[in-house]
């Protein structure tokens, strides 16, 4: 379970303070599929960075699977990102010099998994996204949709508590985009917790709930269908 309590993020730009996030609270149950929506500048990215443990909140409490991760140091955060978070980026962010298989193995390398085991897990993850036949290609040799599938496989290998997808269809045509969304649906059906950040309503609607952000605060939480974890339902802060 992911629980955000009064998360605030303040950037100081010279003498001016910018409140990127202001008192954000909500929670995501295991197996949930949640979208984060909002116009640009609403704090989507900042929220994603904090949930992805790439950044720390200025104040508030963020607990991931019962552990407070808002006060961890750089190395501990790297460990959390490695084991509990799987990132899927709009830009795919595959390393061009590594093969498809090599890219998928990277999180396992940082987890200290040995060569043979690493290969086995990575091969399995590529099979899950239907890319068994492209393992030894370089990223430059495959299509955009295939790249995003490699990125999803890479996000899966350490069995994370949460898959964080940031505009995963932003760089894809609508047909390929819906293929990617179908894979995410399938993963959610298999039990993966997914958080999807987008500004596209039709994409956001794949989720069970949409968290609407505006000016750094949760504007409202919209329930679309009953989540797998029903009892987890939407939670509101007093004043949102």
């Amino acid at each position: 379970m992911i629980k955000l309590e009064s998360i605030t993020k303040v950037y100081s730009m010279g003498s001016v303070e910018v409140r990127a996030l202001d008192d954000v609270s909500f929670s995501i149950e295991d197996g949930d599929y949640v979208s984060i929506m909002g116009p640009s500048g609403s704090g989507k990215s900042t929220l994603m960075h904090i949930i992805g443990c790439l950044d720390r909140p200025s104040s508030g409490k963020y607990s991931l699977q019962g552990e407070d991760v808002s006060e961890l140091d750089d190395t501990e955060l790297a460990h959390v990102r490695n084991r509990r978070i799987g990132f899927v980026f709009q830009q795919f962010n595959l390393l061009p010099r590594e093969t498809v298989l090599g890219n998928v193995e990277i999180p396992l390398i940082y987890a200290g998994v040995g060569g043979k085991e690493r290969r086995r897990i990575a091969t399995e993850a590529l099979a899950r996204v239907g890319l068994s036949d492209r393992m030894h290609h370089r990223p430059a040799e495959i299509s955009g949709g295939q790249k995003q599938r490699v990125a999803i496989a890479r996000a899966l290998v350490n069995s994370p508590s949460l898959i964080l997808a940031d505009e995963p269809t932003g760089n894809l045509d609508s047909r390929t985009g819906s293929e990617i969304l179908a894979i995410l649906d399938k993963l959610n059906a298999e039990g993966c917790t997914i958080m999807l950040v987008t500004h596209d309503r039709s994409v956001a609607e794949r989720a069970g709930r949409i968290v609407h952000l505006r000016d750094g605060s949760v504007e409202r939480i919209e329930g679309l269908r009953v989540d797998r974890a029903v009892e987890g339902g939407p939670r509101f802060d007093g004043d949102s």
């Binding site: 960075h49 790439l54 790297a78 490695n82 980026f89 962010n93 390393l95 010099r97 940082y110």
Partner: protein
Amino acid sequence: MGIAETIGVALRNLWANKLRTALSVLGIVIGVASVITMISAGSSAQKQITSDISALGSNMIMVTPNLKPGAKGRSYQHLLTMSLADQIQAAAPAVSAVSPVAQVEGRIIAGGSSASAVITGITPAYTRIVSTRIALGRGLVQSEVDAAAHSIVLGSEVASDLFGQEDPVGRQVALVSGDHRAIFTVVGVTESKAALFWANVDTQAFIPVTTLLYRMSPIKRVGTYFCQASSAQAADVAVAQVERFLASATGTADAFSVASQASLIDAIKQVTATMTLLLGTIAGISLVVGGIGIMNTLLTSVAERTREIGVRKSLGACNRDILLQFLSEALVLSMLGGTAGMLLGWLGGAGIARIAGWPVSVDLSSVVAAVSFSTAVGLVFGTYPALQAARMDPVQALRYE
């Protein structure tokens, strides 16, 4: 992340930028190669010079008057007589032979040809002290010294200049020095010997010192007393005895300088070691420049791979993983350069020694020093870029276009 994977990633990245890698390796190659070349050339030269000095004589001690007047402006020129040689011999039991030596510039004429030569006045002991061998005829004998005879032994070069392939022994030559001109009979020719400083035997001609002092030279003073210690072990004792005698004879310690062959070798060694250190240091600077090249390459690499660093961090790389990755690239670069430079430097050192005709001497310690220094250079100059990479904020790095 394991060492093998870290080095694997480093190699792949370096391979991906072959030209840049090659150029920065080249900087280290040149640095290491020049350090090793310079140091080995220096030690080759030192070996050559010390062996030359050893060949100069055996257990030789040179007693030379100081050119400047001694304390209180007194001159000791009047002491430079033939009999001082006997006095030294008598006062220093560790000295087994003494030869007074005087030299003038002269010209030797035989038939139609002439040659300039250093005319050295000696006693028979001299040939033994400075290990000169006779190739043709014989050396000078005591009776010729006693009689101030007009006998002459030619250096090999002088002999061939005057007589070509002919045997000069028994021939008459005219010796001209200043206003003096005298006819001498050639009694022998010396063997050719490598030149060193004052002592190019080949371009000298030897006559009895008495003939030079009493019949040829206007100076009538001995220039140097060549002494021989009875053994190599006795050399220091002999030097002390000679010094003590000369100090009591002149009343001052600085009228003469007394130098043994061993002390000469030590002095030369010190000079060549200093030269070698100087050359090595200059070459070392190029190694530092090579290090700056590595740093430049890495900084470029870090900037170019900002996004990769962000991606790796998002996938779980901690600062240490990133640090080690870039540091290992620096080390691979510097060690590649160190190894190639070592081979090149060895060839360079051997080449220089060969061209100069010195014994080849590539010091193992210079190889170890250059390679470990280049590794240290890699570490030092790699640390800053690696730290810069490691400390990157993952959010900023991921946004980098």
